[in-house]
């Protein structure tokens, strides 16, 4: 098989590769793959991995502040899961990076220089316990929708990682929903916390799914990821699925959504909504979101502070 592959011309390999993914076969780490497939996966998976890790930071702020012992345990478990997701995904990315001789440490450097992006849209200040609940409920809810979309990904290691991750994400959403429910049934103050959080995070939730097309921000990776069967639905389809799942739930709790134009159009069977400010996404993607730098700094500080630990653990050069 390998001998055969070596003898084949590039375009034959590509044809065979496309035929394999069309037939629903999984590509494995050591299989031949086109460069732009590898490149797309590296970008996607390392961004996903680092987003899980960076995403643990805003929630971590609420770990000690969680108001009961059970809530403390719940949010600790969730944040630990997120770090675990990051670890799992970075390993998948590392395998893909092997031909380039790059390692975890290179990914970290890329993160610090801004070459490696993370999902910045949620890196705002998390101001209240309501935000902690809402992150679990809707941010993880949105993440579930976008990750479920890739469960059938043509790249086997990523698909398998996502299966494990999605199973845990369901618990995260339940954990968030439980916090929100307790607040929604609580005092005036507690109820208001939830409304404030919805108003505050709504636009970020819409931005999270990405632009409907490349017209909004100048580029979009969705075409190539669909072509290679890494994902199935478009950004817009995912956003629509988010509306369908959550709009009713939010309204039924007696809350409002900060978009007066939001409605379901029966004729076209789509949600009509106020487009978020796509200009913001461009700015945020440059790590210039409200808390992006502060959170990146936490990782920079720890990287610097632990330099001696890495050195001490490094295998000795004899």
């Amino acid at each position: 098989m390998n001998v055969l592959l070596n003898d084949m011309a590039e375009h034959e390999k590509l044809d065979q590769f496309i035929a394999r993914i069309k037939a629903g076969e999984k590509i494995e780490a050591d299989d031949w793959m086109p460069e732009d497939y590898r490149g797309t996966l590296i970008k996607l998976i390392s961004m996903h991995g680092i987003s899980e890790i960076m995403g643990a930071l805003p929630e971590k702020e609420w770990v000690p502040k969680a108001p009961t012992l059970n809530r403390k345990l719940g949010i600790m478990a969730k944040v630990q899961d997120e770090m675990g997701h990051g670890q799992l995904l970075l390993r998948v990315a590392e395998d893909l990076l092997k031909p380039y001789n790059k390692k975890r440490d290179d990914l970290m450097q890329d993160l610090f220089t801004g070459d490696l992006k993370f999902h910045n849209v949620f890196h705002m200040e998390s101001k209240s316990w309501g935000d902690a609940g809402l992150i679990g409920w809707l941010v993880d809810g949105a993440a579930i929708i976008s990750q479920t979309n890739m469960l059938g990904a043509s790249y086997g290691p990523y698909a398998r990682a996502l299966h494990r991750i999605c199973a845990e994400e369901v618990f995260h959403a339940q954990h968030g929903e439980a916090i929100i429910m307790a607040l929604a049934e609580g005092t005036e103050e507690q109820r208001k916390m939830v409304q404030d959080s919805i108003d505050y995070w709504w636009e970020s939730l819409l931005l999270f799914f990405g632009p409907p097309s490349k017209n909004e921000v100048g580029s979009s990776k969705q075409d190539v990821t669909i072509k290679y069967r890494i994902r199935t639905s478009t950004n817009e389809e995912l956003r629509q699925a988010f509306f369908s799942k959550y709009v009713k739930r939010i309204l039924s709790l007696g809350y409002t959504i900060p978009d007066e134009t939001l409605r379901f159009d029966k004729d076209t069977e789509t949600w009509i909504y106020q487009q978020p400010d796509w200009g913001k996404l461009k700015i945020i993607a440059r790590n210039e979101g409200p808390r992006s730098q502060q959170r990146l700094n936490l990782r920079r500080i720890s990287y610097e502070n632990n330099k001696w630990v890495r050195e001490a653990l490094a295998p000795k050069v004899i």
Binding site: V63, L69, A77, Q80, E185, Q190, L298, S302, A312, K316
Partner: protein
């Protein structure tokens, strides 16, 4: 007769408070490290340990609740520093700076404190297996299972860093050992009711526990070339009697920020 049984009860409650408060603050210091540990694998492992430890605190608070001492959440969140019974060494900050802004934390101190405390806790839990207070003897079983992994984890770090031969690592670790030991006696203190606790067979005597601990850690110290006869002190005072530092007060402010915003609300 009445006096005797109330004294008995007080000793049980005091012991439970010590165990609960130790783990509560220890878990908090552990959770402050999340996202800041030397690598991601360690973040996952140590946050799991912090979570287990908070679970242990919750178990001890629950036992207090069952004794009619009040709601477990209230006990955890609504007692001022002067009523806390944790050992002072466990409240000491991880390093200068806030965990959300500019944490200048010292991994050597984390490793040393975690290892020495986990070993001490393991010895206490072992002693609690034969506690005359049944409910405590029962939970000791559950706690011990998890503790086994915690101890292995921190002992490995301790040995790796000290045995690395890396100059900075070794000197940082030695400094951390000195800092930790000078207040570590507080972990073994049983407070004002020490005599009653031992008399009732709730737990073994301080000196016995300390001795067992020294016997466990000495060979480990020796294996990595730290020459020692291990001596512990209580420089900052005895946390069991309510003596505490500003570090604890600040920690409690954070730990009960949301709880204190409405103590009667359901969260």
């Amino acid at each position: 007769m009445e006096n005797n049984s109330s004294l008995e009860n007080t000793a049980i409650k005091e012991l439970l408070l010590q165990l609960a408060d130790d783990d509560f603050i220890h878990s908090y210091r552990g959770s402050e490290w999340l996202g800041l540990a030397p690598h991601i694998e360690e973040d996952v492992a140590s946050s799991s340990i912090a979570q287990d430890t908070m679970g242990h605190a919750a178990i001890f608070f629950k036992l207090l609740e069952e004794l009619g001492e009040g709601d477990a959440d209230q006990l955890a969140h609504d007692r001022p520093a002067k009523e806390r019974r944790n050992a002072i060494i466990l409240e000491v900050v991880n390093g200068p700076g806030n965990y959300m802004e500019d944490p200048d934390y010292d991994w050597a101190f984390a490793v040393v404190r975690n290892y020495l405390y986990t070993q001490a806790k393991a010895i206490k839990i072992q002693s609690l297996h034969s506690s005359s207070y049944e409910p405590l003897a029962e939970v000791a079983q559950k706690v011990q299972m998890e503790l086994y992994y915690h101890l292995m984890h921190w002992k490995t770090w301790f040995i790796q860093l000290l045995g690395s031969g890396h100059e900075e690592a070794v000197s940082r670790m030695k400094a951390a050992i000195e800092k930790t030991l000078q207040d570590f006696q507080g972990v073994f203190s049983l407070g004002h009711y020490r005599v009653e606790m031992v008399k009732q067979g709730l737990i073994e005597d301080e000196a016995v526990l300390l001795n067992k601990w020294i016997q466990e850690v000495t060979p480990v110290f020796e294996s990595v070339g730290v020459a020692c006869s291990i001596k512990v002190g209580m420089v900052k005072g005895d946390g069991r009697t309510g003596q505490h530092t500003e570090d604890l007060e600040k920690a409690l402010e954070t730990l009960s920020e949301v709880y204190a915003s409405d103590k009667t609300a359901t969260w």
